[in-house]
Symmetry: C2
Subunit: 254 residues, 2 copies
């Protein structure tokens, strides 16, 4: 069996998210598996680097699948882009060693959350950004973000119920960049819990609106209680930008 790594771009709006569902499937994973199974004449299962929720976009989601096929990577790429709907695109297909696993081998991820901070909506960003009319205090948001960087228990910042799995994660950086009336938040970390980026963003927005103080972040982290953090912001502002692998180049067969 050969192992193929896919780099995928998609617009989340029309889908129920990444993860295949049992019935009435309208998921990214489901669409890809259906197409690949048809192409290979065998049932194909795809492993994504992680799930993206309904409405969340991806600039470069990574997935892999094992298949018995004679097709070249270029033939797979062409076939997939020919039959996929225009809101899902395969950017690259690479053959990787048997052991490569898109989720287990992922060392880090980069997510972007876009805010239009203006009373005027944006026609061209409306599908990819969340509008906040009131002026945000960006310096306060940056000071709050400083508290969230580093290794913490992010139980307060996930919609997932408390369970056995660790909720400790490391956020390498939270960059907050002004691009005209657009505010771009870039989160880089070793992994993110269910809804984590959207709750972090919701909490930072509340700081920007002076509903919370930057220094409140420490207490929110300590509480380990979802109720202490801010609101969940809409999915459409969120995009998975990059999945990072260690020694990535070594995985490629030349």
């Amino acid at each position: 069996m050969r192992n193929f790594k896919l780099t995928l771009q998609y617009e989340g709006a029309r889908y129920q998210g990444w993860q295949r569902q049992e019935s009435t499937d309208n998921t990214i994973q489901g669409k890809l598996e259906l197409l690949l199974s048809k192409m290979c004449g065998q049932k194909i299962e795809i492993q994504g680097s992680g799930r993206t929720d309904a409405g969340v976009h991806a600039m470069a989601q990574i997935a892999n699948f094992h298949a018995d096929t004679d097709k070249t990577t270029e033939e797979i790429l062409d076939y997939m882009n020919q039959y996929l709907p225009e809101d899902i695109v395969v950017c690259a297909v690479e053959e990787v060693p048997e052991r490569f696993h898109s989720r287990l081998n992922a060392k880090g991820k980069v997510y972007r959350y876009q805010i239009i901070n203006s009373k005027i909506p944006s026609v061209f960003d409306r599908r990819y950004a969340y509008q906040i009319e009131e002026k945000l205090d960006i310096e306060a948001m940056r000071r709050a973000a400083d508290y969230l960087e580093g290794t913490h228990d992010f139980q307060s910042f996930t919609s997932a119920k408390k369970g056995k799995k660790s909720t400790i994660r490391t956020i390498e950086s939270i960059q907050i960049e002004e691009q005209g009336e657009k505010l771009v938040l870039t989160y880089t970390g070793n992994g993110f819990l269910y809804h984590m980026v959207r709750i972090l963003t919701g909490t930072l927005i509340e700081v920007g609106l002076d509903k919370r103080k930057p220094e409140d972040m420490a207490a929110i982290l300590d509480a380990k209680d979802r109720k202490e953090a801010g609101c969940l912001v809409p999915a459409k502002g969120l995009t998975l930008m990059q999945v990072q692998y260690e020694g990535e180049n070594k995985c490629k067969k030349r």
Copy 2:
């Protein structure tokens, strides 16, 4: 009667273009006039800086209308954005002197045409760019663009029939910029004929594909014959970026 200047953003995909039509109206101008007439309780006519064709977008189209209303510019802006569909946005409303005319006073325009020069489609640019799979020779396109800059009779580069109206225009500059796999052509000039930017772009693409030579541009201009120029590229790649007015600040009432 007060005179109001509007700065408008719109995505052209769902519309038959700017200009109001007699029947089955689905135009930008038609939508705006309907809404303003309702707001003012009187028939309002809007004058645009120029028509944009079906499918063409605008980042900052300028229009003006005269109305008998007590509303402030801010009230007009809020009212319009409340009722307009999400693919049309009013970015600004200003009160201007009686004599201001968005078309007659326009001194120049800036248009952008976006090309995705890649075998891989782009999910996020698919509505605003035209995909060309074969690698374009950008240096050749730039040399060809040099021939087109300046004051010329652009009869060869318009779909409009030969008539009494002058087809002489001045193109101040054609910038061709690479942004990753996106090629952005920016046209600045004192005015553009019907389909002119899309035919110029189609011709430059043919140079980029080595179907024509840069130095052929001189003969195409001289021919004053539409058949000599290149193909009309799709509307979706085109965006009206800016309309320029002389002494613009003087028009604003403070």
